[in-house]
Symmetry: C2
Subunit: 126 residues, 2 copies
Amino acid sequence: MSAARGDEVELLVCTTCRRDAPDGAEAARPGAVLHDALMSHGLPENVRLKPVECLSNCAAGCTIVLRGPGRWTYVYGNLDASLVTVVAEGAARYRDAADGLVPWRERPEHFRRNCIARIPPLEAPE
Amino acid sequence: MSAARGDEVELLVCTTCRRDAPDGAEAARPGAVLHDALMSHGLPENVRLKPVECLSNCAAGCTIVLRGPGRWTYVYGNLDASLVTVVAEGAARYRDAADGLVPWRERPEHFRRNCIARIPPLEAPE
């Protein structure tokens, strides 16, 4: 399956992430705060926000994933609610790269420095 | 799309990983060594080995990914060629979990301590 520039992509946000919050803290979890901030901020067209329980990147949360059929999947970490505009910008650039591979210089600075992993599309040739 | 216990899964290995090798080292890259060691060791039935250029987990390589249609995808790090039996065992357990979610106690010790990220299947309900 191949994807086209601008096709719908998913932005997953780990909503269980505690980041620096102590265990048992009563306040909302930083991951949930990030998710809600993104929802309030609004996202670029064809970027679909989706909450996920635990993306298992606990050492470097908060965490998001950008993915879509036929594209490379990217995991980014060390995020917080102050970075919603960065996430929105990075998501738009990802959406506009048919294979998910955004040129290095076009990635937001935070994305360049905090890429946790990337995974090729299931359909990638060897 | 749903998966069944035992269905074919993919084991991706980052073959460009340098791990602790210095830049410009002439020796084979640790990621490529890990890949070749897995090929020589042999893998459980229905676990398909696939080399990938850069999984972008450079801070915690060598790196593998376990994935399959309809399953959660897992990224594991800090691996080397001495751990091929661990990787093979973990891959078999992953293959035998229809959704990719292997119970914590059944995961190899190294997998428990070195999970880099996990990503839900594209088909996961919200």
